[in-house]
């Protein structure tokens, strides 16, 4: 799924207290690309991700999902957009603590008319033997795998990852990145990863750098490294 962002503005508050978080963003991510959105805290990258995800409205400008603009969508259509096209992965996994691993994944498979086979997915994620465990019984890496499984089970055309390795150690972070890479290869979905880990850019097809609500560089990486080979 191709994503096109056109002159996107986002501000909070009014008058003197008005804060402009996004100041006219223009960019695009091609279908099947892994795009890394880099930038320091407060640069606006998470806000941009939320607007792409239809969670927050933009103040002006447009997000084109294929040929559809999110600005023209009402609440119901936005819900359907998230339901049918998007998968979310959060920094702190945000699994539902009273559901098992398998049930957490079922939360999203329930929404899809044609979900992936959960057991197969669990095997891919290396979680099959943990499927009846609660999140509190898993390590951080296993929890993030589960969260990725939850996002993937719908086989979304766009996967949005907000600091997916932010709460993980080096080794586990690499495992997660390898997994994301495998998924991209296997399912050909577009993936946007928000991070402030500069090394992750090496595995991306496209690198967008943000500062103060603006894109300061938009680089196409012709020869991305394998996730297993990147170091930091």
């Amino acid at each position: 799924m191709k994503i096109t962002v056109k002159d996107l503005h986002k501000s909070y508050g009014d008058g003197d207290s008005k804060v402009e978080v996004l100041k006219g963003i223009n960019c695009s991510v091609e279908d099947g690309e892994v795009c890394v959105l880099l930038g320091p805290s407060g640069s606006g990258k998470s806000t941009l991700l939320n607007i792409i995800g239809g969670i927050e409205p933009a103040s002006s400008g447009a997000i084109l999902i294929g040929s559809d603009s999110t600005a023209d969508m009402d609440e119901k259509k936005l819900t359907l957009y998230r339901r049918n096209h998007l998968g979310f992965v959060f920094q702190f996994y945000n699994l539902i603590p009273n559901l098992t691993v398998k049930e957490n994944i079922e939360v999203c498979s329930y929404l899809s008319k044609d979900p992936l086979d959960i057991d197969e997915l669990l095997r891919t994620l290396g979680l099959y033997e943990h499927k009846d465990k609660l999140p509190s019984q898993l390590s951080g890496g296993q929890q993030q795998r589960c969260a990725i499984g939850r996002a993937l089970v719908k086989n979304p055309s766009l996967l949005l990852c907000d600091e997916p390795t932010g709460a993980l150690d080096y080794k586990t972070s690499k495992e997660i990145l390898v997994l994301i890479e495998q998924i991209n290869r296997k399912y050909r979905n577009t993936i946007i990863i928000v991070t402030h880990n500069d090394a992750i850019k090496n595995m991306a097809h496209r690198i967008l750098k943000m500062r103060d609500g603006m894109i300061v560089s938009d680089i196409v990486n012709e020869e991305p490294l394998s996730a297993a080979d990147i170091e930091w």
Binding site: E56, T79, F88, N94, L99, T100, L111, D132, K133
Partner: protein, 755 residues
């Protein structure tokens, strides 16, 4: 310096205003009921105790067919007992359908308490003072003229007679008869001038020694009875004050109401306390990181406990103050009127009651604070680090509960139910308690109606004439009636059973379907008797004749369907032979037509309405209370369900936010979270029904043990349907509020970085 945490309170109260207002109102109503009812009850009790002394209430009375001899009087008074003539005239058809007793002026015993107006003038010969409740129900005012047996009398005063504070027409009656039975007093001159139709020779007695035990009083009463019989008096009725429902019913009623009201207050306060505990525990979980930070910064555990205890303390204290204030002021007349509408009481003297005050101030606050303190103490015993990690489980859940291969939705709901089992358990008790109150409120009227209908349907005659003199009466069926007593297994006390000696050889007998045995030593008993005494066919029951002290072992040969009294039926010849009477002795007639018998030959006359009509009047006086009862129950229902099901949403608001991000629609979120609460609510409603019925039946057995008669448990299906429907409708109202709340949960909640 003021604790900076205190600045959070206004925000906390504002954020949870619905929770605090609804529990406050529930608590205030509970305390109003507790304080108002207890104050009035204690006031009534004190007033009656004072009246016992000031108005010289009798220790008992007897009625004889004729005036007793001087010898009998002298023999009784030798025992340091004063006997007073307390003669009265009966108007059997006052105002068309009421029974009305006009007592001669009372100078030394059972003195009337004046409510309004004045007592009849000694010099007048046409003045009367009427019982307050009878005058109220018949809309008779001071200045009206009333017709008593053809005499026109001017009403000069409204009074309460201390020997009739509960208007029981007959001592065996199940219920008071506040509309169709009344008492009054006239001056001696007026009494003398009245036609002496229906003159009854009642003698009231009082012991000179005022501190006799119940046993001594009972022994003395037996001695008086023996003296009367020995002196040839034909005793028609003999009642000690302790055995006279018209005197003791109110005292007993209050004796039982008091503990019931206290229990009601305690249970409801405990339910509210547990609701608060659940809500506060939920707040602790939500604010775990803040608590962890505060503890890490050096705040003591005690300071944190106190901080979270303050809302409970404030609500409980405020509710106690407001509840008592309203209970003592605005609501006091409402509670007084509950007693005034049912009992013929002297003017109540209400004063400050320390016990009631403590029970409705200190006790609720202590219960609320104690329950919440224990919960907080336990919750806050974890280390600050655990709070910082939001890991508030004392023992880690090792494994997820394994669920069968249900579909995803069902498993999700089960998980929500398991997650909130504590809240749902409290909700179950809350639903049980409020629907039990509701069952009582909705069920009382059909229960009474059923009793009346059954009594009406199983009464096989229209008129009962108990005779002073044996006279022939064409169309009447002869009976021999007597009263024998038997021990009631629950209380150990003697209970009077009316024996009917009926003619078993008459095919057209009005008791033809009573299955009366003809064999010696056998009886048929009424259904009410069998149920109350827990007896079956073949059981042998010991009866005692208080007059002769003879005992009889009688076998139950049949149980008939009669529910109108606690009666036993024997062949008339067999009963007479057992009592050493002539074979064909009789002392009553029953008939379906009015009989032509002179009034002076009748000791007591009763028609169908007298025997079955009192229940309807009781219901009429209960009407207002029952409505208030139902409104309160439904309110309690709603508050309890709302607060506890809201916990599910509060606890899961973050995950509900995720659901929205994932693309769940409002209705799908409802199916996941609210339907779990709905399932628990509906299951609770159904599970509670048999429990409520069990408690209701137990209450009925208890109630029956306090009265002479028996009322069978009966609730039509419609009552159960109404309870469940009210529960479900209330829940759906609440569901709508929750849906609104779900709608307001922002998706941004899910996007905040959380650990």
């Amino acid at each position: 310096m003021m604790n900076p945490l205190n600045k959070r309170f206004p925000k906390e109260f504002k954020a949870n205003i619905g929770r605090y207002i609804s529990t406050f109102i529930l608590l205030v109503i509970t305390i109003i009921v507790g304080s108002g009812a207890l104050i009035v009850m204690e006031g009534a009790k004190a007033t009656i105790d004072e009246t016992d002394v000031e108005n010289a209430v009798e220790d008992g009375f007897f009625e004889t067919k004729h005036e007793i001899s001087k010898a009998a009087l002298k023999a009784i008074e030798k025992r340091d007992i004063h006997v007073y003539e307390n003669f009265y005239i009966k108007d059997k058809e006052f105002d068309g359908n009421a029974k009305f007793y006009v007592f001669n002026e009372r100078k030394e015993v059972d003195l009337p308490s004046l409510f309004e107006g004045r007592l009849p003038d000694e010099t007048a010969d046409d003045e009367i003072a009427l019982d307050r409740i009878f005058a109220l129900n018949r809309n008779i005012q001071i200045g009206d003229r009333i017709d008593v047996n053809g005499d026109g009398l001017l009403v000069t005063g409204i009074v309460a007679l201390p020997d009739y504070n509960a208007l029981f027409l007959n001592n065996q009656d199940m219920m008071m008869n506040t509309k169709d039975f009344g008492v009054s007093v006239v001056s001696e001159r007026t009494f003398g001038a009245m036609k002496d139709e229906g003159l009854t020779y009642r003698y009231s007695y009082r012991f000179d020694e005022r501190d006799k035990t119940d046993k001594e009083k009972s022994d003395e009463a037996e001695e008086i009875f023996k003296i009367l019989v020995k002196n040839g008096a034909d005793v028609q009725e003999f009642l000690t004050a302790e055995g006279n429902q018209s005197i003791t019913y109110l005292k007993n009623d209050m004796g039982h109401d008091g503990p019931m009201i206290k229990m009601f207050v305690y249970i409801l306060v405990a339910v509210i306390a547990f609701i608060f505990a659940v809500l506060t525990a939920n707040t602790i979980e939500q604010e775990a990181a803040i608590i962890g930070t505060l503890r890490a910064l050096g705040y003591k555990k005690g300071e944190i406990i106190f901080h979270y205890l303050v809302p409970t303390l404030v609500i409980a204290t405020l509710a106690s103050a407001v509840g008592n204030l309203l209970g003592y002021t605005v609501m006091i007349d409402a509670f007084k009127s509950v007693y005034y509408e049912m009992y013929s009481l002297p003017p109540l003297r209400i004063s400050f009651n320390a016990e009631a005050f403590i029970l409705t101030t200190v006790v609720p606050v202590v219960i609320m604070v104690a329950v919440n303190f224990i919960m907080l103490y336990d919750k806050l015993s974890l280390s600050p680090l655990k709070f910082l990690r939001k890991d508030l489980k004392k023992r880690h859940q090792k494994k997820a509960v394994r669920l069968p291969a249900f579909d995803f939705l069902t498993r999700f709901r089960i998980r929500v139910i398991l997650q909130n089992k504590g809240s749902f358990l409290v909700m179950f008790f809350g639903i049980f308690f409020s629907s039990f109150l509701l069952m009582f409120g909705i069920g009382l009227s059909p229960l009474m109606d059923h009793y009346v209908d059954e009594a009406d349907n199983t009464l096989t005659y229209e008129y009962l004439y108990m005779l002073k003199n044996k006279v022939p009466a064409s169309g009447g069926e002869k009976l021999y009636m007597t009263t024998l007593s038997t021990q009631y297994y629950l209380s150990g006390k003697d209970m009077d059973i009316t024996f009917y000696g009926v003619d078993t050889d008459k095919s057209d007998s009005l008791f033809a379907d009573a299955c009366v045995p003809v064999e010696k030593g056998q009886i048929a008993v009424t259904d009410s008797f069998a149920k109350k005494m827990k007896k079956n066919v073949g059981d042998v029951v010991l009866f005692r004749d208080k007059n002769t002290d003879e005992s009889y072992y009688l076998e139950i040969a049949a149980i008939n369907s009669y529910t109108n009294n606690m009666g036993a039926y024997m062949d008339r010849g067999q009963l007479n032979r057992m009592l050493d009477n002539r074979n064909d002795e009789y002392n009553a007639y029953v008939s379906n037509e009015k009989l032509d018998i002179d009034d002076e030959d009748i000791a007591k006359f009763m028609k169908r309405d007298d025997m079955v009509g009192a229940a309807a009047q009781m219901m009429a006086s209960f009407g207002g209370i029952i409505t208030a009862f139902n409104v309160f129950s439904i309110f309690a229902y709603i508050v309890i369900m709302y607060l506890l099901t809201k916990v599910v949403i509060d606890k899961n608001s973050l995950y509900i936010s995720f659901m929205k991000v994932f693309g769940y629609e409002k209705n799908e979120i409802r199916k996941l979270y609210l339907d779990a609460s709905a399932i628990v609510t509906v299951i609770s409603l159904f599970i509670c029904l048999p429990l409520e019925v069990w408690f209701f039946k137990a209450a009925m057995v208890y109630f029956s043990s306090l009265i002479e008669g028996y009322m069978d448990f009966y609730l039509p299906t419609s009552v159960y349907v109404k309870i469940v429907l009210i529960g479900i409708i209330s829940y759906f109202g609440i569901n709508a509020l929750h849906m609104n709340r779900i709608k307001k949960i922002p998706m941004s909640e899910a996007l905040k970085n959380r650990e």
